[in-house]
């Protein structure tokens, strides 16, 4: 599995062999922008990033509880599900990896409890760490040390999305509930177990962060391997906390499970960590079925949302809208379709395509399983771009609610900035189709391009490599065609 906590320092000593990762060009941002480095090394960095968001988040909860019950008049709905979602999927994840996890208020209280410090560091000893930490500090159960919980949790949550997307009070229950679970888990389990293994928005951020145009990595992995005995990035020091996400930077080769908290930048004694700019889709490895299924689930959900929320079909919207329509049979059909598509249908098609790819390539030693998992990376740029294509109309059509709700966040008839009465006015809605077409074709291109890059790590011969991706490539094209049909056809 991709996210084995690298908690043991011994394990970290062996050099990464045959990673299968494609090495790419990158620019050292800390070197280019010294201020950025200074800022990230600053101990108050994380606190200052999170605190305003915590205040805003608590205000949203208040608005959800006491404000208007009409979704598009309540700031919790408009800001969280339209504005935040849009920013997250179209900008933060593709351009800045898991930067949201720096800003996210969910782990605030839990982390505070574990550290009993908001800014300073405590040195000492806790487990393998060089920091003093509070709480029970248990290890997360091995059987759950993967993203299956997040896969299923997110799917379950999204089955009922029509509820919390439109009802402030249900949004409060969902968001408040997650906040509570994040806090309570921190009493028992070490560091950010919630973020690594439970948080429903963690899994897809990790998956899609592989496409991101930035990465945090060791400047020279040789230094980590040969010179550094203390591995303070993982274990902490008097300058920084041990990685809350259990990452050992010396071997970290993907963005998936790095929350960009910058503790390692502070604790590395060799000043060997930096943030780099890199081309789109820099990480190309999917590791394990849990991550493949995340890709399937995200794709299925994008399609289901495109049908339910952006489609013309009232019956399907009624099925999803259980709170008002109370058609349990309809909800059953709806949920059944979602779960079947995400967990069985897409994976089955993918398995078939992988098997055909193996046959076409004609190399026996490379298993269908390997092709299945590795090539499922193709669905990462594909799925991300499909989500972006889905999210643009959301903001172009409902963006004016952002402007009006900011003046009247609780829907109480206030007019703070004089924009409360701005009429609903979609922004150039008739042009969204062109944007969506470009986004989807761009996604298909990257799926194929990276699919080929990956196939070259499996096959020596370029023609075998190309043949091996033809079936999965065709599946990708069919998926893109389906989205085009929904959005523009």
């Amino acid at each position: 599995m991709g996210n084995q906590p690298a908690n043991s320092v011994d394990k970290a000593k062996d050099a990464p062999k045959d990673s299968g990762q494609v090495k790419r060009f990158r620019i050292d941002l800390f070197e280019k922008i010294p201020f950025l480095k200074k800022f990230c090394k600053w101990r108050s960095f994380q606190f200052l990033a999170v605190f305003p968001n915590l205040v805003i988040f608590l205000f949203f909860l208040y608005a959800g509880l006491f404000g208007s019950r009409v979704g598009n008049r309540n700031i919790i709905i408009i800001f969280v599900w339209i504005f935040w979602w849009f920013l997250l999927i179209t900008f933060m994840v593709p351009f800045a990896s898991r930067i949201w996890c720096v800003l996210c208020p969910f782990p605030f209280f839990g982390e505070w409890f574990q550290r009993r410090a908001l800014i300073k560091v405590r040195s000492g000893k806790t487990g393998g760490l060089r920091n003093k930490m509070f709480g029970l500090n248990k290890k997360w159960p091995k059987a759950l040390s993967n993203i299956w919980l997040q896969d299923i949790g997110f799917l379950a949550l999204c089955t009922f999305s029509a509820l919390f997307l439109t009802r402030p009070i249900i949004s409060v229950v969902v968001l408040g509930g997650l906040f509570l679970v994040a806090t309570v888990l921190a009493f028992f389990y070490r560091q950010r177990a919630f973020c690594m293994y439970v948080c429903p928005v963690s899994g897809f951020q990790g998956l899609y962060a592989m496409t991101s145009m930035i990465e945090l990595r060791a400047v020279d992995p040789q230094v980590c391997r040969k010179e550094c005995k203390t591995k303070n990035c993982l274990t902490g020091s008097e300058k920084g906390w041990g990685c809350p996400w259990y990452q050992y930077v010396g071997k970290m080769e993907r963005n998936n499970y790095c929350g960009l908290c910058m503790e390692c930048v502070k604790s590395c004694p060799n000043d060997n960590i930096s943030v780099f700019a890199r081309p789109f889709c820099g990480d190309t490895q999917v590791k394990g079925y849990d991550e493949s299924w995340k890709a399937f689930i995200m794709l299925a959900l994008a399609m289901v949302y495109a049908v339910t929320l952006l489609g013309p079909w009232g019956t399907i919207r009624d099925w999803a809208n259980i709170a008002e329509v109370r058609n349990w049979k309809g909800l059953g059909i709806y949920a059944g379709i979602i779960w079947f598509t995400a967990l069985i249908a897409i994976p089955a098609v993918w398995a078939l395509a992988s098997w055909l790819g193996k046959l076409l390539a004609g190399v026996r030693s490379i298993s269908t399983k390997e092709i299945f998992v590795k090539y499922s990376y193709m669905l990462v740029p594909l799925g991300l771009l499909a989500w972006i294509a889905f999210s643009f109309p959301l903001i172009m059509v409902n963006g004016s609610y952002i402007i009006s709700v900011i003046s009247d966040p609780l829907g109480w008839g206030w007019d703070l900035l004089g924009t409360a009465d701005v009429a609903w006015r979609p922004i150039l809605p008739e042009y969204t189709v062109y944007l969506q077409i470009l986004l989807l074709l761009f996604g298909l291109f990257f799926a194929l391009k990276r699919g080929y890059d990956i196939s070259l790590t499996l096959y020596q011969d370029k023609s075998q490599a190309v043949r091996s991706i033809i079936p999965t490539g065709v599946v990708c094209a069919v998926i893109i065609f389906a989205f085009l049909r929904l959005f523009t056809g």
């Binding site: 060009f25 009409v70 189709v433």
Partner: protein, 178 residues
């Protein structure tokens, strides 16, 4: 070598994208009078989708089956408000002003092809922001071109990477496989 392959790839995509619209443009049609009666309810329109030809003259009547709904037609400067139980509805052209006038039907000729959504523009309940239907004006050039483009991207990417195969080390942004 590399630049030539990229150009080849782009040409393939463009050719594939052009074929379906060219084929479709030869089909005749349009210029007819077409009548529709669209009923709004929480949170959909019936019919959910209407298909016409470029040049058709549309006569649309609107009614609501439950609460007050809107009818905002993308790209056509049409916005209506529909009250339940009333035969007439209120119509305005947003670019011309905010005032509504009572009408029996909205009449216009479709000049642009593609997909245009009609959406509810009057908050009518929880799923209001997602209440929408579709007007398809054939031939749907954007969709046809995009479909051809999909095939084009598939063929050209596979072909170009195959031809560039040996040179893939420098063709990829920055590097080779470890």
């Amino acid at each position: 070598m590399k630049a030539r392959l990229v150009i080849l790839g782009i040409v393939i995509v463009l050719v594939c994208a052009l074929i379906p619209p060219l084929v479709a443009s030869s089909s005749s049609g349009g210029g007819e009078k077409k009548e529709f009666f669209i009923k709004a309810r929480q949170y959909a329109y019936d019919p959910p989708r209407i298909t016409v030809n470029k040049g058709d003259e549309l006569h649309i009547r609107l009614a609501s089956l439950d609460v007050v709904h809107g009818f905002f037609l993308e790209g056509h400067d049409i916005d209506a408000q529909i009250e339940p139980g009333v035969r007439q509805f209120k119509l305005r052209h947003p670019s011309e002003g905010k005032e509504f006038t009572d009408v029996n039907e909205v009449v216009f000729t479709v000049e642009h092809t593609g997909k245009f959504r009609y959406r509810c523009s009057h908050t009518c309940g929880t799923l209001h922001p997602f209440m929408q239907g579709e007007l398809i004006v054939c031939p749907n050039y954007p969709f046809l071109a995009a479909s051809g483009g999909t095939v084009g991207v598939l063929i050209s990417t596979l072909l170009v990477i195959f031809l560039a195969g040996k040179k893939h080390k420098d063709a990829m942004p920055g590097g080779d496989a470890q």
